[in-house]
Amino acid sequence: MDPECSQLLPALCAVLADPRQPVADDTCLEKLLDWFKTITKAGSSLLLLQENPCLVELLCHVLKPQDLSSRVLSFSLRLAGVFAAQEDCFQYLQGELLPRLFGEPGPLGGAAWTAPSVRSGWIQGLRSLAQHPSALHFLADCGAVDTIFSLQGDSSLFVASAAGQLLVHILGLSMQGLAEGHPSLQAGDWPVCAQKIVGHIEESLHSTAVPQITQALNVLTTTFGHCHDPWTQVLWVRLSPLVGSLLEKDPVPAAHSLVDLLLSVARSPGLSSSSCGLWETLAQTLNHLSPTQAGPLALGILKLQDCPQVLRAQAFVILLQPLACVLKATGQDPGPSDVLDSATGDSLTVDALLSSKAACVGLLCRTLAHLELLQPLPQRPCPWPQEPLLGAAVTLLQLCRGSASPASDVGRHLCALLLGCVRVQRAALDFLGTLSQETGPQELVTEVFAVLLEYLRSPDSSPTVLKKAFQATFRWLLSSPKTPGCCDLEPHALLVLRELLPVLQKRLCSPCWEVRDSGLEFLTQMTRHWGGQAGFRHALLASEVPKLTEQLLRDPESYVRASAVTVMGQLSSQGLHVTPVSPEHPGGQQKSLLVELLHILSTDSEGFPRRAVMQVFTQWLRDHHADVAGDTEQFMARVLQVASQDLDWEVRAQGLELALVFLEQTLGQFHSHCPYAVTPPVAAPAGPLAQALQPLCRVRLFEFAFRALFDCDRPVAQKSCDLLLFLRAKTASSSGSLQESRSGPDVASVEAALQRWQAGDQGQPLGDLEPEVVLAVLRSVDLEGLRGALAEGSDHMEKSPQSLLQDMLATVGVLGENEADCY
């Protein structure tokens, strides 16, 4: 600890110990504790206490009967734990202080115990303390384990959860020394503390009270999740009959926790699953749990790497049951798949589905989510029943729209429950999208597109459902089989596209902005993939979509304008933007898209469209878009001028990105920062460096970059710093060809202007700069230093422990003369 802090510490401890001085800020205490943890990790706690007796005094002081705040008491308990983690320090404190802090005489029996923060501090203190065998004796002596048992049922969930974790920790600690030498340890030979904990778990598992069973199962779950020593296998062998007996109860108590435990055991590398009867227990559990409870277990089993095929098959059947019921209820053949066929007959699942709308929706959504998670995994069941699953997803979507016509009573009931249900619609559309990874028979794919179009057309589809329908449609269009050697949409997908475009047209005119936005996003995705393909281009150009999209540049909603800017940029890049004829001025051409985007950049009141414009411009510059390539310098000058005045830092940062692309293209041969950027076919400048830098000067790139260097927003300044450093590095190698004018008056005035800018006065422009001046200034400015300063967090000055101690003291007025840096 540095001397300054040592000096401040006594005053701080006095403040903390004084009940009249309220510590307002919890985060200060957390920071203080973190600081002590850092110190004790690096050095001896004992030495620390000896050098700073005020700390022990603080710990002693909090034990006095007084009206001390619960947060200080909690802090002290945790602090004591941090110190006592080292065994010598533990011995130093053990005599009197620790038993009084953590034992019966301490806060345990007092009024302060009613505060959850004190109970939590007590647990965390013990958790830190319990690091060595001496601590185990201490815990046993002061009866802490019994208190921890009772805290498992605490009214505060944080306390209850921490108590459970502490038990696991103590169990692990007590087994630590013994386990190494005795891999075949029998439970009877276990240390007393471990015996006690295991005994408590056994007792809880025997209990009829569900909360107690839950606590025991949670402790076991954490144990098997964290400890993989051989003794855990012995523990499982000892407890598995008890866990198994829970399955005999109806309903199975704490089913959710039971599932977690079994999966935790199955995942534990310390256990040999086959030898301890785990697979049998899992199979039995799958049979006993209700369909809703069994789903997560089935998914967990299917995710396991090594698991008997029979169990996997059983789990998959359970997982598929709800969908199989849906298929059966709507009179559909579940298909040739054995798996789905064997999943159809479960009356429990049917009952669960039909019991209420909430149960039906919950079960189906969970099933769909589980299958969606499973689909991309390498260990997913094989063969994957793609066809019936597709059928089920389509049927569910039809049921939700009322367009399915089930013949059975169950089907009609399902239809009534699911009608208009947005949750199931969303889940089914997501799942349908996932299924596009593989295809299906053509007639089923046709059905998929039909149901997707039905959703996209329906006036009743909610905006979120529509968005998902667009996403699923795109994924299915992507997955439709391609003609070899051709990237264009296949004929069937083109037919779908022709039906899709009128729907998209209508959606782009929707009164709901989310719908317009989703429509534009969909169009962006499609254009990105097929913008160069003849079939797509023909269909798009024959529709009104490009024209409507352009009108959305003037949409009242900024998100929509931003999306429209992105789409228009892309359409224009692909040559899909046709300048329309204005309805007001038939025969007259409307202004070009570039002008329109520049107008948005300079006048739009919202940031999103302006950012989008900058991205489009950057892309255009990279792609040598015709509108830009015509007069790149004028374009750059105009854009940089507007961007430099933008209030949105992201626009300014994007301006630097644009500047970098221009710089690369102008100087050539620079390595592109963006791995996706098309390397421009620009040759290295033939002439001297000054000539190469001239265009950059003409577009006032340097003024923009220098101004950004002192930007009040750090990311902009960092980006500018990087750009200038990059330029300096590039020019350094060829500086020989340039006559420097280090001492010229221009350089001095520029440096003076930069200093003013740095001081916050950004009013004065730099004027026209010569390349020589630029290079001189580049070398004179301490860019590395600036980069280092910018890399520091904005609070690096205030982060020091000394500052923390000063702040804490200042808030209670002890350091009256100190003008505290309040942040």
Partner: protein, 634 residues
């Protein structure tokens, strides 16, 4: 009579009435029978495979065969759409009763009738077709003419004079106002939330309550919200006027309407919205008010053409008390409740009585036109259909649910313009009905048969029918139904002076009895107990005697008895009084006490005691007095 609606779908069988001579319509070929017989070709014309009557459109009247409408005392009107047949009833059936309706209902109903009469009368048609109605001929015609029912009762539109006369018979009422009908029942209109002034009705006596729920809406639109609480505790709830398009959600449809409108206009096309001059149009204009700026349609003109357009737009602004809360509060700002006032002020919405006159000079395209009639058989809409039907840039958007849009479009085929069907029906759907019934819990629900089963085309949609317990009683056309309750009690009032004279005796805690002698006076179904006429003051011995002879009932007043006889104690009393050989038998209704020696039998039941002895009056009186000891007298 509950409501008085007019079935206007009959007009779909007729050719449209164009405002100006339409060469296309007048050149349609006449229809001839399969055998080539062309005797009907003057009356029936063929257009794109459909046959239409070339005559003034006619309307299907309410059922007149089942009851004599002259015997109807009262007609209760629910909303302005449900009164369109009123002139036929009040002017041609001998009806002499009273019609009850709210003020907006009457005013807007008048506008609808006025518009209808105007549409028909301004294009007089000399030709009148009646030959086709002959039953023998009708069955030779193609569908749907062949299947039209009761064509002989179809009538031409009424005149303005008849409208005025019919409306003069209406008595205006306000929400929650109690109206006594002949003392027999009380009727009360309640807000139904569907349209300006729309009502549900409660018909109740002192002990029975029947609710009549007609077109109602739980959506937040412009009218006052529906009053559900007052419908509670109904013995019977008659439910009708549910949405005609249960699968179309009004919110989705409004979105669809706006999208299609914007799409058409942005592509340079015109939009035609066939509509009634009041109702949904107010909500549509409000939606458009919010939408047009955001959709960049600010410079697109909106035209509302109707003979009553001006009145409709203005009326809507003055019925503040009948509007929803939000709109009511605007009145105090003061602001017009509906934003269409601002649309008019800013010239975005213009209204005209007809195509002729100012409209012709103001008209510019692309534009949006709201005009009637939704059947597309008469009104200015016919002209726009003829004008814009040939271009695929234009769109007709159907928002009124009353007519099948395909049938409405049939005489305009072939048609190039786009047709969009966005029926906006804000009336209750089946989910809302289920919630309503759960809320108000009537003992019985009575509704049309159609509501008790899914639509034939969607037989699996169990959600598209009324689901309630006990199952709803359904009725069909011309079916007579007995409502499932009996009138068991009547309320009788007691005059204050008579009430003062009563001396109640508490026979059980909380229950008191008093004897009363009075005259029951019944008039106009009201019953009043009045004090009996006082005997005239005695002026002489003879007269006094005569007066007491006149009212013998007042002279001898037997006491009334109450209480029960405890058998064991009664037997002990008998024994005390010297009776022996007493035997008690239990019966289903009470006990029989047998005095074997005296050959006497005493039957004690809950509400009677009989002493049966053989001609021994002395014994009977003795026993009677013993019985009376156990009973209270008053």
């Amino acid at each position: 009579m509950l409501d008085c609606g007019l079935d206007m779908t009959s007009t779909l069988n007729f050719l449209p009435l164009p405002l100006v001579q339409s060469p296309r319509l007048s050149n349609l070929p006449g229809w001839s029978l399969k055998d080539g017989n062309a005797f009907l070709d003057k009356e029936l014309k063929e257009c794109s495979g459909h046959v239409f009557v070339d005559s003034v459109p006619e309307f299907c009247l309410p059922e007149t065969e089942l009851i004599d409408l002259s015997t109807v005392d009262v007609i209760l009107i629910s909303n302005y759409h449900c009164m369109m047949a009123l002139p036929y009833i009040t002017e041609h059936t001998g009806f002499t009763g009273t019609v009850y309706a709210t003020e907006p209902t009457v005013q807007i109903g008048r506008l609808l009738m006025e518009e209808l009469v105007n549409f028909i009368e301004r294009v007089p048609k000399a030709q009148s077709a009646s030959l086709w109605k002959n039953k023998d001929i009708q069955r030779l015609l193609p569908s749907p003419l062949k299947d039209a029912v009761e064509v002989s009762t179809w009538r031409r539109c009424y005149t303005m004079q008849e409208v005025n006369s019919a409306l003069s018979k209406i008595q205006l009422v306000g929400y929650s106002q109690k109206i006594e009908l002949f003392g027999a029942v009380q009727v009360t209109p309640l807000s139904s939330g569907y349209a300006l002034g729309s009502s549900n009705w409660i018909i109740q006596s002192h002990y029975e309550k029947v609710s009549y729920v007609s077109g109602s809406s739980l959506l937040t639109t412009h009218p006052q919200p529906m009053d559900q609480a007052s419908l509670k505790n109904s013995d019977v709830l008659i439910l009708t006027g549910l949405t005609q398009i249960p699968t179309a959600n009004p919110d989705g449809m409004v979105g669809e309407f706006c999208s299609n409108l914007a799409l058409t206009v942005r592509n340079g096309g015109n939009v035609l919205v066939p509509c009634y001059p009041s109702g949904v149009i107010y909500d549509l204009l409000e939606c458009l008010y919010q939408y047009i700026d955001s959709a960049g349609l600010s410079n697109i003109p909106f035209y509302f053409i109707s003979p009553v357009a001006n009145s409709s737009l203005e009326f809507s602004q003055i019925f503040a008390e009948w509007l929803c809360h939000n709109k009511q509060t605007k009145v105090y700002l003061p602001e017009p409740p509906f934003p269409h006032a601002e649309l008019i002020q800013t010239n975005k919405l213009k209204h005209y009585p007809s195509l002729h006159g100012d409209f012709s000079s103001d008209f510019r395209q692309p534009c949006v036109v709201f005009t009637g009639h939704p059947s597309l058989r008469f009104g200015d809409v016919v002209h726009f259909m003829e004008l814009w039907g040939k271009s695929s840039l234009n769109t007709v958007i159907f928002t009124e649910p009353d007519f099948s849009y395909l049938e409405a479009l049939a005489p305009y085929q072939p048609l190039a313009m786009k047709c969009i069907y966005c029926p906006i029906d804000t009336r209750l759907n089946f989910i809302q009905v289920s919630k309503l019934l759960k809320e108000v819990q009537p003992l019985h629900v009575v509704c049309p048969e159609q509501y008790t089963q899914p639509p034939p085309a969607q037989s699996h949609r169990m959600d598209l029918m009324i689901d309630c317990q006990p199952p709803a009683m359904s009725y069909r056309r011309a079916e007579v139904l007995a409502l499932p309750f009996k009138r068991r009690y009547e309320k009788i009032e007691i005059m204050p002076e008579l009430a003062d004279a009563l001396v109640p005796m508490e026979i059980k805690p909380g229950i008191s009895l008093a004897t009363v002698s009075a005259v029951l006076h019944t008039k106009d179904n009201k019953h009043i107990l009045q004090p009996p006429p006082r005997p005239t003051q005695p002026t002489g011995g003879k007269k006094r005697k005569r007066a007491s002879d006149d009212i013998p009932d007042c002279k001898v007043l037997k006491p009334l008895l109450s209480g029960s006889i405890p058998v064991e104690q009664f037997v002990q009393t008998l024994e005390k009084h010297g009776f022996s050989d007493i035997k008690v038998e239990d019966t289903a209704k009470g006990h029989i006490v047998l005095l074997q020696e005296a050959e006497t039998l005493i039957q004690i039941e809950e509400d009677s005691t009989h002493i049966i002895c053989d001609n021994d009056e002395m014994l009977r009186v003795r026993l009677r007095d013993l019985v009376l000891k156990f009973l209270q007298k008053f």
